[in-house]
């Protein structure tokens, strides 16, 4: 019952430090046709379940006073769940698609230097006032300036010049023209709150729930019956912070909560046969992407043959089966599988003979991997990879680091040739933009200046289809010659009381407004 590594605050902090937190992260190649709206969602009745008076959710952290309903301080788990229920955003990634929420359309000018947001009409805040362009201007300016946690998302927005043209239209000038404004900014984080709201002790949004009350452990949300997207099927949501994964499962089994967010893989295995519970698997779309990152700037990985040899020497299925207990899927060296804009790269098969040949050509017999239990299973995966490389004639030495110290020193990360790493799986274009550019603190694969120039060009491409193609070309380049040995997707694992359904997931953040119980 001790905290599992998955639950450890150190890991979560590390995740946060990486800035790749679930839900922080959403976007990719914008396909306008995919920008539908929520009206197409099936109603709860159509799904065959019944509405619920109360749904209690066990989340991995408690929402603090300051965090409750404060979009500037959202970080992980419960804070994101509360934020997503209280506020609507301009755009979201829902069920693997980019969707407009409060925005009705978002259009660039010819060179992508100014973007025009048109708002959906007839939406009101919890206090009955309409959502207007002035509210959007205020929200963007507040989110983009300190002490906002997400100021970096808006770093390229000329905040002072964001303007309300009329009641329903906002223009957003950028400092550098970008074609990917929607997926790289609006989809990532764009909650809207009323103009004049500068502190969030009594948060007002336009979302399906309003914040009713909270204590040190539990946050209570009540349904906004007038919600423009339809009356929520759950009248009251209680988000309960339960730090330990084992305790969350105990609470679910004892009936103290109806849904447990994030359980351990051993817990999922143990409860698979329990007829009272359903284990909810997130699939690759809601997963961590696990990698052994090779820095292309540093020897011996500056030699493309060595990178290719390592990628060919590992048996990815064996890694997933053993290190992840089979609760995941194999990856093919590029982030973004099951999400918009993925280039659908061919599965990378093991080829020991080719790996041996490449290692011999490059004169490699020994390698060292910096690793640690930064996610559960990473150390086992590292040990297994050492055995697999041995079969290819290479001796792999493991240099184990404690998870709390793993991300402490950016210089160490930048100067180690080979290290265990993980990313939140997000659309490939967003991932490449955030992690492989020259100034990214976690550009541990050391992409070249030429690559970064092509990345900047892709980002600036305004035409949606042309930009999608440019990002696909970058993914192919990364697939062929890049530095990540991305071997597996570790799925988000939740558990629910039998009969609970209709829970949606936005990049590992659960949405309960359309959940239903046993009919």
């Amino acid at each position: 019952m001790s905290p599992t590594p998955y639950d450890s605050p150190f890991n979560r902090r590390a995740l946060f430090r990486m800035g790749l937190v679930a839900g922080a992260a959403v976007a990719g190649v914008p396909l306008l046709s995919a920008c539908g709206d929520d009206d197409e969602q099936p109603s709860p009745a159509a799904a065959g379940g019944g509405s619920l008076a109360v749904l209690k959710v066990g989340a991995p952290n408690a929402v603090t006073d300051a965090e409750a309903g404060n979009p500037l301080l959202t970080s992980i788990g419960a804070t994101l769940i509360v934020m997503r229920h209280v506020y609507d955003s301009l755009m979201v990634l829902d069920n693997g698609e980019y969707k407009y929420q409060l925005a009705e359309s978002v259009q660039p000018n010819a060179d992508g230097s100014v973007w025009t947001i048109n708002l959906r009409s007839g939406v009101t805040f919890h206090d009955g006032k309409p959502v207007t362009a002035a509210d959007v201007v205020h929200s963007i300016r507040t989110l983009g300036a300190k002490p906002s946690n997400r100021a970096s998302v808006y770093a390229n927005v000329d905040l002072a010049k964001v303007t309300a043209v009329n009641d329903r239209t906002v223009t957003v000038p950028l400092l550098t023209p970008r074609g990917d404004f929607k997926e790289a900014v609006l989809v990532v984080f764009s909650p809207v709150f009323p103009a004049g709201m500068t502190e969030f002790s009594k948060p007002i949004g336009s979302g399906p729930y309003r914040l009713a009350e909270r204590n040190g452990t539990t946050t209570r949300l009540v349904a906004n019956e007038q919600y423009w997207g339809g009356k929520p099927s759950v009248a009251e949501l209680q988000i309960v912070g339960i730090l330990d994964a084992g305790a969350r499962l105990s609470a679910l089994k004892a009936g103290q909560v109806d849904y447990a967010v994030s359980i351990s893989s051993t817990g999922a295995k143990t409860e698979a046969a329990n007829s009272e519970l359903t284990v909810v698997r997130g699939g690759a779309a809601n997963a961590n992407a696990l990698s052994f990152a090779m820095n292309q700037k540093l020897a011996p990985f500056d030699d493309v043959r060595v990178r290719q040899a390592v990628r060919l020497a590992v048996d990815r299925q064996a890694l997933v089966d053993n290190a992840l207990l089979g609760l995941g899927s194999t990856a093919d060296d590029v982030v973004g599988k099951s999400l918009p804009g993925y280039a659908d790269l061919p599965a990378r098969a093991r080829d020991l003979e080719q790996a041996k040949r490449l290692f011999t050509e490059a004169g490699i017999t020994k390698l060292t991997l910096r690793t640690g239990e930064i996610v559960p299973g990473m150390l086992n995966a590292s040990r297994l990879m050492a055995q697999q490389l041995k079969e290819a004639g290479v001796e792999l030495t493991l240099q184990e680091i404690s998870p709390d110290a793993y991300y402490a020193d950016l210089m160490t990360l930048a100067t180690h040739p080979f290290q265990a790493f993980y990313y939140v799986n997000r659309p490939a274009a967003v991932h490449l933009s955030a992690v492989t550019h020259g100034k990214a603190p976690f550009n541990v694969t050391g992409t070249s200046a030429a690559y970064q120039a092509r990345l900047a060009k892709a980002q600036a491409t305004v035409d949606d289809n042309a930009r999608a193609e440019a990002f696909k070309a970058l993914q192919e380049e990364f697939y062929k010659e890049g530095g990540d040995l991305l071997w597996g997707f570790q799925e988000q694992l939740d558990a629910a009381r039998k009969g609970i359904s209709g829970v949606r997931t936005m990049q590992s953040v659960q949405l309960f407004d359309r959940a239903t119980g046993p009919a």
Binding site: M1, P3, P9, T64, A66, N149, S152, R220, G241, L410
Partner: protein, 318 residues
């Protein structure tokens, strides 16, 4: 030396110890990897942004300057501002500290009489049947890790035989006392260990005191056993017992963390976990300093109790 002088000396020693604790706490959080700046900046911050935030938080200044600032503020009971919650540390920790205090207090209220009773029962008849049974149980209870004990209690009393809640959720708008059943399993888990441990020490103390000449003399004079124990044996055994219970209290304040995590009890452990997650050193240092102060004061109180109970020390103190 007067009793007042004794007290003054003890207080002085306490202050010195507290200073040493403060130095260790401050040094400890200095060498912790990572910092509040990168923790608070979040997604996709660049190295330049982190450096700028460090300057804003003032953590880029030399440590002696920051230590003196922090230390002098702490003297005014100002423990600084939480970098993650943007509130004074004192406000942040007040409620969880009270919840943990309640857990510790209830555990002590059950453990102290239980340990005294068991210690007397076994210590007065060492080697007897009762002693052998109680000692065997106590040794087992002390050697099982607390998270295992707590997990077993959940398994038995919440899962197999659903009498009590598996986790300790206070009602909305209320504290643990508004739903007292949530306190039962955490207190039981802590008591099992605490009573087993303390009763062993009380037992040894009672055996020692029982062998003292004045106790033997009282018995030979034909005083009833009840009077021998109450008037002669207990006062002799009291000083080590008081010290033992002061140790117990300090152990409980540290040891509740594990039990709080298993039961998700709304005490200091949750505050500490959140503080570690956000690299909120102000909260970590503040909680550490407060706990150290509480523990040190409990030792002073134990000393005073001993002084009140044991006539020999009062004479010596004069």
């Amino acid at each position: 030396m007067t009793a007042l002088g004794f007290l003054a000396r003890r207080l002085l020693a306490t202050v010195a110890t507290l200073f040493a604790v403060a130095v260790v706490l401050f040094a400890g959080s200095e060498v912790l990897p990572g910092d509040a700046a990168s923790a608070s900046l979040g997604p996709d911050a660049t190295i330049e942004e982190v450096a700028q935030r460090r300057a804003e938080l003032g953590v880029d200044r030399p440590w002696p300057v920051r230590f003196v600032e922090w230390g002098t503020a702490a003297l005014r009971l100002d423990l600084g501002t939480s970098t993650s919650m943007h509130r004074p540390v004192v406000d942040v920790v007040a409620e969880p500290l009270a919840a943990t205090g309640l857990l510790v207090g209830l555990t002590a209220a059950v453990t102290v009489p239980l340990a005294m009773g068991l210690g007397l029962l076994t210590g007065l008849r060492p080697g007897g049947r009762v002693d052998r049974v109680v000692s065997a149980v106590a040794v087992v209870a002390v050697s099982i890790p607390q998270f295992v004990t707590a997990g077993l209690l959940v398994l038995v009393f919440a899962d197999l035989w659903p009498l009590l809640p598996a986790i300790s959720l206070p009602p909305l708008g209320g504290g643990p006392l508004d739903r007292p059943e949530i306190l039962v399993l955490p207190v039981a888990a802590l008591t099992l260990f605490g009573a087993a441990w303390a009763s062993r020490i009380v037992r040894a103390t009672v055996i020692d005191a029982d062998a003292m000449p004045h106790v033997e003399a009282a018995r030979l004079a034909g005083l009833p056993e009840r009077v021998v124990v109450a008037r002669h044996l207990l006062p002799a055994a009291a000083p080590p017992c008081a010290q033992t219970f002061a140790w117990l209290l300090s152990g409980l304040f540290g040891g509740t963390t594990v039990v709080e995590v298993v039961f998700n009890y709304p005490g200091l452990s949750q505050t500490l976990v959140a503080a570690v997650r956000n690299h909120d050193t102000a909260v970590l240092e503040g909680v550490g300093l407060l706990l150290a102060a509480i523990i040190l004061v409990s030792f002073v109180v134990a000393d005073l109790l001993v002084l009140a109970v044991d006539p020999r020390l009062r004479v010596a103190a004069r």
